[in-house]
Structures are given as C-alpha cells and as structure tokens.
Symmetry: C2
Subunit: 492 residues, 2 copies
C-alpha cells in the first residue's frame, strides 16, 4: 500500500475503535443499564460521539484522500475502494455545517418523543409537523452535499448504488406477483400448533438456541448473545454482541430471532479481520446484511431439512411439551403465514408488502406528490390494496414504526432488498453446491458458510450492492427468485 | 463559584466521563468479554486511556489552577478543596515525562507475565529483576515529582496524608496486641458447619443476596450486580457495577462478597452526585473506601443481630439444607477464624497480619534495608512470626499477590487502615445511635446509612484520611478499636 493509503487506514481504524466503544455503550444501554443511569449514559455517548466525529473528520484524512485521488486510476484496486468509500463518509461528516448537525440532533430527540406520544394517543396530526421537518432536513442534507435527489441519497446511505428508480422497478414487479401469491397462500392456510407451544423453560430455550447458532458457525469466542427488548446484532468481527428475547409461551420467537441475528453476526465475523474499520473490512450495506440474516433465518432454518436434524433435539429438550405435536404440525407452525397490520409481526411472505407500502409513501413524500397531512389516508389505502387490511387507527397504521421519527428515510427498502437477495443467493448456492439440503438434514452448515464467506463476506465493500449480487449470481437483483422461493415453500 | 473554578469543574467532569467509559470497558472485560476479543478490548482501552490523559492534562486545567492558586486562601473552602486535589492529580499526570510513562507501561506488562510465570513455577528469582525495576521506577516517579520519599508518595496516592512513619506507628501497636489475640482466638476455635453448606442453588443465592443488599440500602436503579472471577465494585454514583461469584458449595462467599462490594457501592452512591468527577464528589482514598465495605461486611453482617433477622429467611430460601444446622452453628460458621497462608482467604482477624507483613517488607525495600533477593526469606520469617505459618514455597508466600508486579506499592496498607477505621467508626456510631443493633435485628439499616452519609459520604474529599477520622470520631486513627472489636466478637 502507498504511504497515503497506510495513513488513511490507520486513521480510519482509530476512528472505528471509538465507534466500537460507542457501540458497546449502546449495547450495554439496551442489555444492562440501570434505569436511573440513562442520563449518565447520554453524557458518555455524547462525548464519545464528539470524539469519534473529531477522529473521523481529522484533516489528515482529507490530506490522505487528496493524495490518493491524485494517484487516480493508477492506484491499486484496493486503494481505490478505500478512497471511494472514505471520501463519501468524509464528505458526509465534513460538509454538513455544525448548525445543521445540531438542528438534526435536536429534532431527532423532539421528534422521537412526539412520535411516542402520538402513537400512544393514536393521533397522527401530533406527529405530522415533526415528520415534515425531518423530511425538509433530509432534503437539505442532500443539497448541502451537492446531491441532486434527496431520496436517492437516503437510499444510497443504506445500500450503496441503489436509487429510487431502481427500487421502484424492482418493487413494481414484486408487487405484481406477490400480492396475488400472498392471497393464494393465505387462502390455503392450514391450522398450526402455535397454541401448543407454551411453558417452554427459558433456560432450556437458551441452551437450545446456543446449540443451533453454534452449529450454524457462530464463533462464540468472539461474540455473545444476551437479552434485550428488541433483538439486535452489534459490534464487529472482533466482538459481536447479539441479543434475543425469551417468552416461555413462544419458543420459536427466541430461536428465530437468534438465528436472524446470527446471520448478521456470521457476516461480520466473515469480513476480513485485518481490515475491520476500513471499507475493505466493512459490510456492503443494509440490504446485503439483511440478505445474510434472512437467508439463515428463512431459507435455511424454516426448511424441512433443517428440522429433520433439529426436531428430535427440540422435542427432547422440552419433553413432554411436544407430545401432541407431529413433525408436520411443528413445521407448519414454524412456517405460519397470516397477514397482519404490524410489520414487525409479519410472516416472511407478507413482510415484503409492508415494505413496498412504506417505500411508495416515502417516494411520493420526497417527490412532493404526497403531503404529510395525507399520509394516514394514503397508508390505509395501500394497506388495503396490498395486505387486504385497513388499520383501525394510526397507531397500527402510519405511526407504528420508529424510523421516520429519526428521519431514517430510505431504510425500509433494505429489508425487502435483503429478502430478494437472500432468495437469489439461495438458488445460486443450491446450484453451486449439490446436495446442500442434505447437509442441513445432517446438521452441517460448513459448505454454505464457506460459500458465503468467499462469495460475500471476504469481499468487504469492494463491490456495491447490486454489483455484488451480479458478481455472485450472474444477474442483477431480481424479485423473481423471492417469488419462486415463497411459492415453493408456501405452496402458492 | 468563581469562573476559574467553574471552568475547572467542567474540565474535570469531562475527563471523568472518559474515565467512566474506561471503567465500563474494564467491567465488561471481566464480566462479559468473549475470550478471543481481548486484543480488541486492549485497543479500545488504550485509546480511551490516551484520550482521558489528553483531557486530564488539558492546558486549560493548568490555567484554571493557576488562577485559583493566585486567589490563595481567600477563595471559598470548596474551591480550595478542588484546587488542592486537582493540582496533585494534574502534576502527577503532567510532570512525568512521556518516556517514563512508556517505560512504566512496558514494565507493567512484562512484569505481570513474569510474575504469573514465576508464581506458577514457584520460582521467585524469575520475578526478582522485575520487582527491582518496579521499585526503581517507583522511587524515580517520586523524584520526578520533586517528592522526597518514594514510599510516602506511594502511600499518599492511596490514602491522602498518610506516611510510612504514621502507618508504622499504627501497625506496631496493632501487631503488639493482635498477634497474641489471634493466637488466643485460634486456640478457642469451635467446630463450624461449613461442610453442611453444600448444594445451595445459585439462583436462590442470587435472590437472597439481592434481598440483603437492597435492604442495606443499595440503589439498584443506579447500579447492578453481576458475576466475575474476582468480586469488585466499579463505576460511580451514576451507575455502579458490582460483582460477586457463585459456588453452590459456598453460599457465604457470594453473600459476603456482595455485602462487601455493596459497602463500596453505598459510599459511591452517597457521594454528592452533582460533584461526581471532581474532588468534592470523590472518595477520600482507599482506606476510607475499605472502611465502608468492611463495616457493612464485618461489623454489620457478621453480627448476631444481623442474623436474627436474616437467618430464618436464609433457612427458608434454601430449605431443607439447613435442617441440621442451628442458629449458633450458622453464626459460628459465618465467623470462622483460622490462620492461612493466603491473604485473600484470610478471616477478619488474621487478615490484618497479612497486611502488616507486606507493609514491613515494602518499608524495608524502599529504605534499602532489604534487598529484593532477600524478600522470600524475610517474608517467610515474618509469616512465621505473625501467623505461625511458614510457606512451603514462594507461590504461597511472596509470589501470591499480583500487586507488586504492577508496582502498586503502598496499596496493601489501605486494607488494614480500612479495618481499623471501620472498627473506630463502629464504636462511634454505636454511641451516637442508641439501639442500633436492635435496628439490625429488625432488618433496618437506614439510621446507620444515614449517619455514614452525613459523616463520611457527603463530605467527598474535603478532608484527608486521618482528618476525616478525627472529625467523625474525635480522635486520630487508633488500632485499639479494631483490637477491641475483634476481642468482643471472637472472644479472645
């Protein structure tokens, strides 16, 4: 590496160490923090954020970037990857005036509380002015960076290279096929045994999910799993902190949450360790990240082959609670599909329609085709069109998600991109590794993980979202694999 | 407060926020860190230490100090307290050359590993050169700060105002009375029921110690207790992180460890919260800190009155395991006394003799009256004289403690000072609050805690160690209260 690249790497890694401490503070806040200690944690996190900002905007990073840019296309490929992403991040951090950053931080806090109150009161107009201000700020942020389109910028933040036009094309095709498919699947529903899965001791759940996630390949010597209200995966390949949650009357929730987070954790653990903190050792974006969690959670862990191995162990671990439940009934319960108004409760079929809805509204809001005041009506109409359900009030409609209160536009589409990419990777790996499902029936996941390591993880951010999909699968992102997969699994 | 004092407070608090993050990293390292993540934690801690050093040595702190010093004795008392301690800390951080600091950090790491190997090999000569270097550096550190005596400086670091001459006087008197007392107590030993305390479920131990420590007054809305190999108490009044450890066959260990750490935690929680991070909201020193943990652990929780309240609950929580153990037998087990070679396993009587031994050796090492090579022989002779036991090898003798490997000279005496001060406070509070032990028999500790709050906690660092003892008890530190207490409790 050139001296400039080496200096850049050292400076990025230094900033990343501070980011990793912030991440640990946040993990601790959600897992352990005593209730009255929140104000102190706020002080600690704010100071760490300030120091991280100072490290990530150090003038020497700008100098290194200028040197690398002068070298241009003659630089080694990896240096160009470093340069391209580091420039993007550096500009985002240095081109926004301090007054803008302060205004955004203030608004995030105010809007969060306004949203929480509005949701509790089922009263969208209380939240509307804050949504309007977040929308205005998001557009101004793009302008300040000299970018022509606010929504394209928001999407690119989460999934490098994606645009509103591209996602619109993908989602239009997906919607065309998925709405009727979801209706057919819902029409074919057979009863599940969810009500029989009650009284599963938490300690045994913990041991079982630990056995499963260890078998999937998670390295517990560099990570752990704890409990929080909402499951998440934080940290990096040096030290992954995942969470799940336990409900004695819903053992599948803790297990599938843990498997989902393990998918994220395996990606992080597979990124080149020596490059952690730099674009060569970071995830491509949220869509690819979500493709990893979804592939393990859905394609792998909801499959018949997976349960051929684990069902006897599950039955034994919780005996005699499954005595009245057959293998087929358990599998049907694992794969229950039922439309719901609430995104986070949705099954893997209708989940995508929740995302399509949110994307369409965000797209129209940014274009100016939809006024903030009209969001509830638009939401409810789309909900009826896509899901066949109309919210009784905004609390189960347009106020259900936290994202917009923080101005996190362009975030939702990643979930659905992740589902599409997971299915696309799935058919690719099935073709590449014959007999893969027989591995699962034997409780072995090493070939799958090895393939994901080589094809996805070890590449870091060398390719952008859709470039990576094309490199691995031979074509750009396409919704047809997801539609095919859902049809095959749920018999639509 | 003057503008200079306000600026100083803000700067000290800022540095303290970074120290509190370092402390949380260290807590997490001992409680949660995955084994292979240690190197990363090292990077995180090193960077935080660097940033803390930068914050604590900010030139503006020096400027504020100069302004306050110019105001001299005309400044308000609290400003003088701030100034005095902040100056001491600032000089320690700024007057040591960077090369010295680096050399010390390198030596700490090398000496730790040399000590661990030497201890495992029971081979003192392997460790001797590192002990010599630590001793040399400790003396040089005092010289660099312009202080005349290396050991006085080391003692003052842990207990402000204490000197080797003062501790020698205290320990000489203590030794005179305690050695024969310990012999008499050992001669009167009655059999305990320790062997009957087996198979106590950890979950029930956890609940029981939580009930006890809550009753003592620990505020779990600003703190928590977890598990680590060695119990400790970290954090501050904003967020205390204590630990204990569980052994199904030793339920008294987890309980008394938790009560000991609760004593530390109660002190921290009682320091004026608005001044945390400044000398007005910090503990006086280690001796006073230890007096708080010891008072709760020993004077309170080993008393008959304490167990009159808790014994029935203890019996019920673990029924039927105590069916063959009477109240008196349980109390005798709680108060078991038996000389041992290992300090950390010692009872509250002989523990003090372990400290006297270490102090005498440190004193002679610093004076030049003892060569490092002669430490094992001197250790063994003193061990026989004080404890009546001679180590079979250095692993259970002069290599047993980690402290010297890190150059932490002057640290051991604080433990014994804490025991002396605890007993002295005990007789003072018994006189001040008639019927106090009846409170304990009823499970009430509010009057005791309130008295400690007013007399000790709320004063922060306004007084030095012995000044504070004098202010509260009407006399300087005296060993006779400890000797009296041990005689009364153990019937010597």
């Amino acid at each position: 590496m050139s001296p400039a690249a080496e200096t850049l790497v050292a400076d990025l890694k230094r900033a990343n160490v501070l980011a990793s401490v912030s991440s640990l503070l946040s993990w601790d806040e959600q897992v352990h923090l005593p209730p009255a200690s929140a104000a102190r944690r706020g002080e600690q996190s704010a100071l760490l954020a300030e120091l991280h900002h100072a490290a990530a905007t150090a003038p020497r990073i700008g100098d290194s970037l200028a040197l690398l840019e002068a070298a241009g296309a003659s630089a080694p490929a990896d240096e160009q990857v470093l340069r391209r992403h580091a420039r993007k991040d550096y500009d985002r951090l240095t081109k926004l005036p301090a007054e803008f950053v302060r205004e955004k931080a203030r608004l995030d806090s105010e809007a969060y509380h306004a949203w929480a109150e509005a949701r509790a009161a089922k009263d969208f107009p209380k939240f509307a002015p804050f949504l309007q201000r977040q929308l205005d700020l998001a557009k101004r942020e793009a302008e300040l960076l000299g970018l022509p389109d606010g929504y394209d910028y928001a999407l690119d933040k989460h999934d490098p290279g994606m645009t509103a036009a591209r996602i619109e094309a993908l989602f239009t095709e997906l919607k065309r096929d998925l709405v009727p498919l979801a209706r057919r699947i819902a029409g074919n529903r057979q009863p599940t045994k969810r009500d029989a899965l009650r009284g599963f001791p938490v300690e045994a759940q913990r041991e079982f999910l630990r056995a499963v996630t260890t078998a999937l390949g998670f390295d517990y010597s560099r990570g752990r799993i704890d409990v929080s209200l909402h499951p998440f995966c934080s940290g990096d390949g040096h030290d992954i902190r995942m969470t799940t949650r336990f409900d004695a009357d819903n053992p599948l929730d803790s297990l599938f949450s843990a498997i989902h987070e393990t998918g994220h954790g395996l990606y992080e653990q597979g990124l080149p360790r020596e490059w952690i903190g730099t674009p060569l050792g970071e995830a491509v974006g949220m869509g690819i990240h979500e493709s990893q969690s979804r592939l393990w959670e859905n394609q792998v862990a909801r499959s018949t082959a997976f349960w051929q191995h684990w069902e006897p162990k599950f039955r034994a671990a919780f005996a005699p609670r499954l005595d009245g439940v057959s293998f087929d009934e358990l599998l049907r319960t694992v794969n229950e599909v039922a439309p719901t108004l609430i995104r986070v409760d949705a099954d893997e079929v209708t989940y995508n329609l929740h995302i399509v809805l949110r994307f369409e509204l965000e797209r129209r809001l940014f274009r100016g085709d939809l006024a903030v005041a009209d969001v509830p009506a638009a939401w409810n109409a789309l909900s009826q069109e896509l899901l066949g359900l109309t919210p009784a009030h905004d609390g189960e409609g347009c106020l259900q998600d936290i994202h917009w209160s923080g101005g996190a536009f362009g975030y939702f589409p990643s979930y659905c991109l992740g589902n599409m990419i997971a299915a696309q990777l799935w058919y690719t790996v099935l073709a590449a590794l014959p007999g893969l499902e027989a591995d699962f029936a034997a409780g072995r996941y090493g070939r799958l993980l090895g393939w994901l390591r080589t094809q996805i993880h070890e590449r870091g951010r060398r390719l952008e979202t859709e470039e990576l999909v094309r490199a691995v699968t031979g074509e750009g992102i396409s919704p047809r694999h997801l539609v095919r997969y859902l049809g095959e699994r749920y018999g639509g």
